[in-house]
Each structure stands twice: as structure tokens, then as C-alpha cells.
């Protein structure tokens, strides 16, 4: 379970002054939940996601993952938490360009201290499941955008984290690839995976069981999705 308690996050604006990206946001994300966070650009969606994931410290407030107050941990412990409890999926995929698909997916496993054989076995299994068995030795530039995002999802899953945090995962995809990726998220969620998706695509968001709308750093709406995805 993830608890976000009264989290505020401010940034210094380039021209001076302060931007309030998150303003006393409180949220509970239960185990096995699929949550879509929506809102206009600059509403604080991505800031909330990265704060939950232990990458961006809040100005005030707490984030608790599985009983650990994330920002009371030191940097090394927080990195360990990201390795084991959190999996990130990015809009721009963020695959390391000179590594193969397989090596990209193995990376978090190797960082977590697993042997190369263990990491490879898990990565191969995941990539096969996501339809990338024929792309193991390809580099990211040789993959379609949909394949890159599936590789990114495989990487996020490789250490079996408690939660997947996806920042605009369909933002760079064509409609067909976007639908594929969303179907994949729903499948994973049906298997019990907790997933938080930040998106500005309302159609996709409404397929989620729960939708949280942010407006100017404040939760304006927290309700069930209007349209569950037809499986």
C-alpha cells in the first residue's frame, strides 16, 4: 500500500517566484489497484508520480510505501527501494540506446544484485510474454515505438515491484500501440499488479477502475472510471 500524506512540492520558477506543483495532496493507493491520474499540463501529475516513486522529494508531507517513509530513508536506501518496490515506465521509454532490449530489461535486476543468469532468465521470460521474443538482441533504435514501450514495461516488471508508475506511457504511441499497452496494463492489474498511470488522454484514463483528477496541484476529483476496458 502507498500513502501520500499532505504532500506539497514547490519549485523555483526560472524568472523568480515559486510554483506550487502539489498542494497538500493526500492519497491512498491500495494493493492491486489501477489508478489513472489525469489533469491539464502543469497540474502536477508527473510531479506526484515521481514523488511517489522516491525520485523527487516533497517540500513537505510524507510518502509511505509498504510501511517505509520514503523520504526519511537515506539516498542509498531510497535507491534500494526504487530497485525492489517501484517500476517506472516513461513516455519517452528511456531505454539505454547502446544496450540490447534484453540488456535493458536485465539492468534493474543486475543493479539489485542478481546473477547474470538469473537476470537473463527473468528478462527473457518477460520479453517473451510481452511479444518481444524475436527482439532480444535488437537495440532500441531497431524497435518500433510500441515495442520500445513494451520493453520499457518489461524493464519495470523485472524486479517484481509492488507498484508500476507510468508517466504518459501512451503519449508517444500511435492509437493501436497505445491500445495494446493499455490492454497490457489491464492484464497485469488483473493479475494483482498495482499500477498508477499518469495520462492526459481521458479516454484511456476512464478505462481505469479509479481516476484521480489534479487541478493546479490539488486533487479535484477522485472517482471510479466511467468506462472499463472491454477485455
Amino acid at each position: 500500500m502507498i500513502e501520500v500524506n499532505e504532500v506539497c512540492r514547490t519549485f523555483r520558477a526560472p524568472g523568480g517566484g515559486v510554483v506550487q506543483a502539489l498542494d497538500a495532496v493526500s492519497l491512498t493507493i491500495r494493493q492491486g489497484e489501477l489508478l489513472a491520474v489525469v489533469g491539464a499540463s502543469g497540474s502536477g501529475k508527473s510531479t506526484l508520480l515521481f514523488t511517489v516513486g522516491g525520485l523527487s522529494a516533497p517540500t513537505t508531507g510524507r510518502v509511505v510505501i509498504d510501511g517505509h517513509s520514503v523520504y526519511d530513508l537515506d539516498q542509498g536506501q531510497r535507491a534500494a527501494l526504487r530497485r525492489t518496490s517501484v517500476g517506472f515506465v516513461f513516455q519517452t521509454f528511456n531505454l539505454v540506446p547502446y544496450l540490447t532490449t534484453l540488456e535493458n530489461v536485465m539492468l534493474p535486476s543486475l543493479l539489485a544484485g542478481r546473477t547474470r543468469a538469473e537476470a537473463e532468465a527473468t528478462a527473457v521470460r518477460l520479453l517473451e510474454r510481452l511479444g518481444l521474443a524475436a527482439r532480444l538482441r535488437h537495440r532500441p533504435a531497431q524497435l518500433s515505438v510500441g515495442e520500445r514501450q513494451r520493453a520499457g514495461i518489461a524493464r519495470s516488471l523485472v524486479n517484481a515491484p509492488g507498484v508500476i508508475l507510468a508517466d504518459e506511457p501512451t503519449g508517444n504511441l500511435d492509437p493501436e500501440s497505445a491500445a495494446q499497452v493499455m490492454r497490457l496494463f489491464h492484464q497485469l492489474n488483473e493479475e494483482g499488479q498495482t499500477i498508477v498511470i499518469v495520462t492526459h488522454d481521458l479516454d484511456l484514463a476512464e478505462q481505469a477502475p479509479r481516476v484521480v483528477r489534479l487541478r493546479s496541484g490539488v486533487i479535484a476529483e477522485d472517482r471510479p472510471g466511467l468506462r472499463r476496458l472491454a477485455s
Binding site: 539516498q75 534500494a80 513516455q91 519517452t92 524493464r155
Partner: protein, 335 residues
């Protein structure tokens, strides 16, 4: 780009160093042509005897050359053993100097002796008439009145295996006085005397060479370090999305920092190795006749490549530390 810059700097560093070494060698050879920096002779040989090249019958203690090499280490370029005898030739007492091993049978004459003897074509120093191979240019010293033959031939004439003089040729920038003091302190049971080739001028020339080289090396190392720091920073900036991804998937600060530094080290080594080889080629192109000598200086190229790797690691340090600890979220969102 980083590797190319490092290669260029390494090529310049290696090339300059090798060219400097070549110049130093040429200068040393010219100075050596005048005479040694120091001479070691048996204890008891007086100043006037030295002037007249009359070193008497006492030999230097056995193993003196080896001990001198140990005491002076790399400051010693060459230790030349000589056996100086006084023989009656054509009715006069003439110094006969045995030195070196490369010459064929025959003798060389000092300019004054050749003139006094009427420029003879052959000379008998006790082994029958031998051809005069060369008349040496005048040096203004008592060697102008001497006969020169190989050390082996001189030992045969003396009838014993001994030497009574060791001439020392020092590296550029090594003051003969300092070398002399070290030899005195080593208690070698020999007399250390100045070589008489104008030590002050010699030292000045050699010192200027060494200072110029050190200055060039210092400036190049500084430029290389600054260049590497800038390229490490630019390289890391180009790869900040990758660094941010590493951190997002759980790499700790140390892992991220080591990744950046290792990359910079490898780039430095690769650039340095390529550049060092290019530097050797540049130096050879500048002076083709020096090629064999320059190739023998391969440790310079190795040192430059190693220095590039070290500078690569050190110069990436500040960038690595910053990238390992700064907020990665903006980098994740900008790619």
C-alpha cells in the same frame, strides 16, 4: 568528440616529449663531444698528472662502473671505461688511450701528435705498424697529443685486465657538482674530478633544456586536464537522460558516479593510446633519422596513455558527483 580531443592532446604531448628527447639527445651528443662531465681516476693522481694524461699504474677498484651506475641511476647517461698508458713512441713519451670496443684494428691520433709525427699513415705502438684511421679534431686538451685504440688493445699492451679512468656523461639538467657529491658520499675509493668541458656552460644548456621540457609538459598536462574536464562534463550532459534512467531503475549514487568515471577513464585511455601512437609518428616525421631511438622511447607513449586515463577519471569526478546526486526528474522528462 571527447576521445578525439584526448587523442589530439595526447599526440601533442607525446610528440613534443619525443621531439624534446631527440633534441636533448643531439645536444647531449654535441656536449659529450667536448668531454665528460666527470672523471673517476685512482686516488693519488695529481692535477698535473691529469693534465698530462699520466694516470700511473694504479687501476680503479674492480666493479667501479657498476657501483657508479647504482649510485647515479637514471642521471647517468653513459660511463665510459678507459685505460690510459704512457708509452715510448717514435722516441717520445706519448699517452695511449684505450677506449671503446667498436673500432677495427688501427689507431687514431690526436691532432697535435699527428702534426708532430708528420701525419704518418701507419704507427707502431708496440704491436707492429698499424694504419692511422683518423686524426681527431683539436680539443685544446692534452688528448690532442695522444694515441687512441680500443680498450681491448690497450689492455693487451698493458698485459693486464684493468682500467684507470671512468668518464661519466650525465643526463640533461643534472648538475655535475651534485653527481660528484653523491659519488663522494658513496665512498667508492676513487678520485672524482671535473670533466673540464666547461661544466657551468654545460649545466646551463642542459638545465635550460630540462626546464623548457618541464614547462611544456606542465602546460600540456594542464590543458589536457581542463579539456578532459570540459569534455567529461559535456559528455555527461549529453547522457543525462541515461543517467536519470539509471537512477530511476535503482542505481545508487556510487554506481552512477562510477559509471560516469569509468566511461571517462576508458575514453581517456583509448584517446590517449591513439594519440600517443600519433605522437610517435609525428616525432618520427619531424626527424626520420631519429626513428629507431624514438621507437625505443615507447614508455613515453605508455605513460601518456596512462596519464590520459588517470586525468579522464579525475576530471570526470566533479561531474560524476553532481550527476549522481542532482534531481533526475527534469532529465527524465526532457528526452
Amino acid at each position: 568528440m571527447a576521445a578525439a580531443l584526448e587523442a589530439t592532446a595526447a599526440a601533442l604531448a607525446t610528440g613534443l616529449e619525443l621531439v624534446a628527447r631527440g633534441r636533448e639527445e643531439v645536444t647531449n651528443e654535441r656536449i659529450d663531444g667536448v668531454g665528460p662531465a666527470l672523471r673517476l681516476v685512482p686516488i693519488g693522481v695529481g692535477g698535473s698528472e691529469l693534465m698530462r694524461l699520466n694516470l700511473g699504474g694504479k687501476p680503479l677498484p674492480p666493479g667501479t662502473a657498476k657501483r657508479v651506475a647504482t649510485v647515479l641511476g637514471p642521471d647517468l647517461r653513459e660511463a665510459r671505461e678507459r685505460l690510459v698508458l704512457q708509452l715510448d713512441i717514435a722516441g717520445r713519451s706519448v699517452p695511449v688511450v684505450g677506449v671503446g670496443s667498436g673500432r677495427p684494428a688501427g689507431v687514431e691520433l690526436g691532432s697535435a701528435l699527428a702534426e708532430a709525427l708528420g701525419q704518418p699513415a701507419t704507427l707502431d705502438v708496440g704491436r707492429g705498424p698499424e694504419p692511422v684511421l683518423l686524426v681527431r679534431a683539436a680539443t685544446g686538451s692534452s688528448e690532442d697529443g695522444a694515441v687512441f685504440l680500443t680498450l681491448v688493445a690497450a689492455k693487451a699492451l698493458a698485459g693486464e685486465d684493468r682500467v684507470n679512468e671512468l668518464q661519466l656523461f650525465l643526463r640533461a639538467g643534472v648538475p655535475p657538482e651534485a653527481a660528484s657529491a653523491r659519488l663522494e658520499a658513496a665512498a667508492l675509493q676513487v678520485q672524482v674530478v671535473p670533466g673540464g668541458r666547461g661544466a657551468a656552460a654545460d649545466q646551463e644548456v642542459q638545465g635550460a633544456l630540462a626546464r623548457g621540457r618541464r614547462l611544456a609538459q606542465g602546460v600540456l598536462a594542464l590543458l589536457l586536464g581542463l579539456g578532459l574536464a570540459v569534455t567529461a562534463h559535456l559528455d555527461a550532459a549529453e547522457r543525462r537522460s541515461e543517467v536519470a534512467t539509471l537512477r530511476a531503475v535503482g542505481a545508487d549514487a556510487a554506481t552512477v558516479a562510477w559509471t560516469i568515471m569509468a566511461r571517462s577513464t576508458v575514453l581517456g585511455l583509448a584517446g590517449g593510446a591513439v594519440g600517443a601512437l600519433a605522437g610517435v609518428a609525428l616525432a618520427v616525421a619531424q626527424d626520420p633519422s631519429a626513428a629507431p631511438r624514438l621507437v625505443a622511447e615507447w614508455p613515453v607513449a605508455l605513460s601518456v596513455a596512462g596519464l590520459c586515463a588517470l586525468l579522464g577519471a579525475l576530471s570526470a569526478g566533479p561531474t560524476a558527483a553532481a550527476m549522481a546526486t542532482r534531481d533526475p526528474v527534469p532529465w527524465l522528462q526532457e528526452s
